[in-house]
């Protein structure tokens, strides 16, 4: 499966961003993930949470659904722009919107 399948317009934007050395997350409206070890994950440019449990957190993003798996996961801060997750993060994977768990 391919997450965030790019159309012609997006490919062009990506090339332009690459050529002018512009931040692609801004130009292409991509989420930005900062993972600190396996303890903390900061996600910028999200679109809300879909599921929240101690073992799994599902977060909606412009390019699909981000699934965070682990233990004792906890949202320590959530704003319109960013989500900060703490806990033992074991796995991150991307899914298409509406795809089954």
């Amino acid at each position: 499966m391919r997450v965030g399948k790019q159309g012609k317009g997006k490919r062009f934007k990506a090339k332009v961003a690459d050529f002018f050395e512009l931040p692609s997350d801004v130009i292409l409206d991509l989420p930005r993930l900062v993972l600190t070890g396996n303890q903390r994950l900061l996600i910028e440019n999200h679109q809300g949470i879909i599921e929240y449990a101690k073992e799994v957190i599902r977060i909606n993003t412009p390019i699909g659904e981000l699934r965070i798996s682990g233990e004792d996961l906890k949202i320590i801060l959530i704003t319109q722009e960013q989500v900060s997750v703490e806990g033992q993060i074991d796995k991150l994977d991307w899914r298409e919107r509406g795809e089954d768990n």
């Binding site: 949470i49 929240y52 449990a53 320590i76």
Partner: protein
């Protein structure tokens, strides 16, 4: 993150419990309105507990309705709510204020004065000095802070034994640190008199510094002050100043040295006789083991020792040696000495002693010698007259 928490504390925040099937949807919708949540906990599948700013809570009402969830405020936290609670308990507030005020007043005084770093100087003396200068238990801190520099200057003047003094205020404690000087040995006094080293008749004097107390032709005894270590200076206004100086000068005087030597005309000399005893011993390291001996002794004897090294060893302690001690009996026999030989011996001794008494290179002005024989002893008397500098610095006892 920390700044967000601090802001939330000052603005006031709520701990809210969300109940329903669509809590995640509720949060997502609330986020679109710019609401911030933190410490989001899912207690059960239907129940979330989270924190949010107090002023954001009214915004959430439509979302509760749209998602079918319910919200319940569990706790109100932060400065505004705390202030509201405190304001309601006036007695408690008054007590707290009194307590704070008491602590503040009490901490503005110095209650302890500690002196450190002293070994020779007595602490009680320093504490007394500090008390005189205004630093004592119960004094206001602000007073000390204002005059600390002056106090340090004064204290340094009062403690000449200290090389460095500091006063630090730590809360209600004043810490006084004193570093003592290592004092140099007492300085040698510059003023000193010149005194006579010998009895003599002064023939000439040369004064370079100081005031002479003797004149030519004076007879002086040993220890008399010849030149006083003082100098009088007359100022233009007529006043006279007495200045202490180190006396310098030469006092030439005729001195007489007398030596009496007694030489016996009969002496006893040892003569070895036939009696002999030989003892052989073994020395191992520093211990002596007698082995065998032969012969017998009686009366006075003399001893001679000879040794033969058996094992030299690496050092003196590992030495092994065979020692032979020979003891020989002796008799003391009288021997007559002629007066001429005795006189020659006495003259040689007299010259040796005179060379010791007179300064080197000094030629005597005149020499007088006489001798006589009484009861088997020759008495030789030598009198030498010389001219020499008899001035010597006066030795003064050090005053502690």
């Amino acid at each position: 993150m920390i700044s967000q928490r601090i802001m939330a504390f000052f603005q006031g925040y709520l701990v809210v419990m969300i109940t329903g099937y669509h809590c995640e949807k509720f949060i997502s919708l609330a986020l679109t309105s710019g609401v911030t949540f933190w410490d989001v906990n899912r207690k059960t599948p239907k129940r979330f507990i989270l924190n949010l700013s107090a002023q954001d809570y009214p915004i959430l009402r439509p979302y509760f309705y749209r998602t079918g969830t319910k919200g319940k405020i569990l706790r109100r936290k932060g400065a505004p709510f705390l202030w509201r609670r405190v304001r309601a308990k006036k007695g408690w507030l008054l007590g707290m204020l009194c307590f704070m005020l008491t602590i503040n007043i009490l901490s503005s005084f110095i209650w302890f004065v500690e002196v450190t770093g002293v070994q020779e100087i007595e602490k009680t003396r320093i504490l007394q000095d500090l008390s005189d200068l205004g630093l004592y238990p119960g004094v206001l801190r602000s007073k000390i802070e204002k005059k600390r520099d002056w106090m340090l200057k004064e204290l340094r003047m009062r403690l000449p034994e200290a090389v460095w003094v500091s006063i630090r205020l730590k809360g209600v404690v004043s810490l006084v640190t004193v570093t003592e000087k290592t004092l140099p040995p007492p300085a040698v006094r510059n003023d000193a008199n010149l005194v006579a080293a010998k009895d003599g008749l002064i023939t000439s004097l040369l004064v370079i510094e100081g005031t002479p107390l003797v004149h030519e032709g004076d007879m002086v005894s040993r220890g008399d002050v010849l030149i006083l270590g003082e100098k009088s200076l007359q100022h233009l206004d007529g006043s006279i100043e007495i200045k202490k100086v180190r006396a310098e000068g030469k006092i030439i005087a005729r001195v007489w040295e007398e030596i009496i030597i007694e030489e016996p005309l009969e002496v006893y000399r040892p003569v070895i006789t036939s009696g002999q005893r030989v003892v052989y011993s073994l020395r191992i390291k520093n211990r002596l083991f007698p082995m065998f001996s032969r012969g017998k002794l009686s009366g006075r004897f003399s001893q001679t020792r000879s040794g033969k090294t058996i094992l030299r060893g690496r050092n003196r302690l590992s030495l092994v040696e065979l020692i032979k001690d020979t003891y020989q009996t002796i008799d003391w026999n009288p021997v007559e000495i002629s007066p001429e030989i005795a006189l020659t011996k006495a003259k040689i001794k007299g010259e040796e002693r005179m060379a010791f008494l007179l300064p080197s290179g000094l030629k005597p002005l005149s020499t007088k010698e006489e001798w006589e024989v009484t009861e088997g002893i020759l008495k030789y008397r030598l009198v030498v007259e010389a001219q020499e500098d008899i001035a010597a610095p006066e030795l003064k006892e050090e005053k502690k």
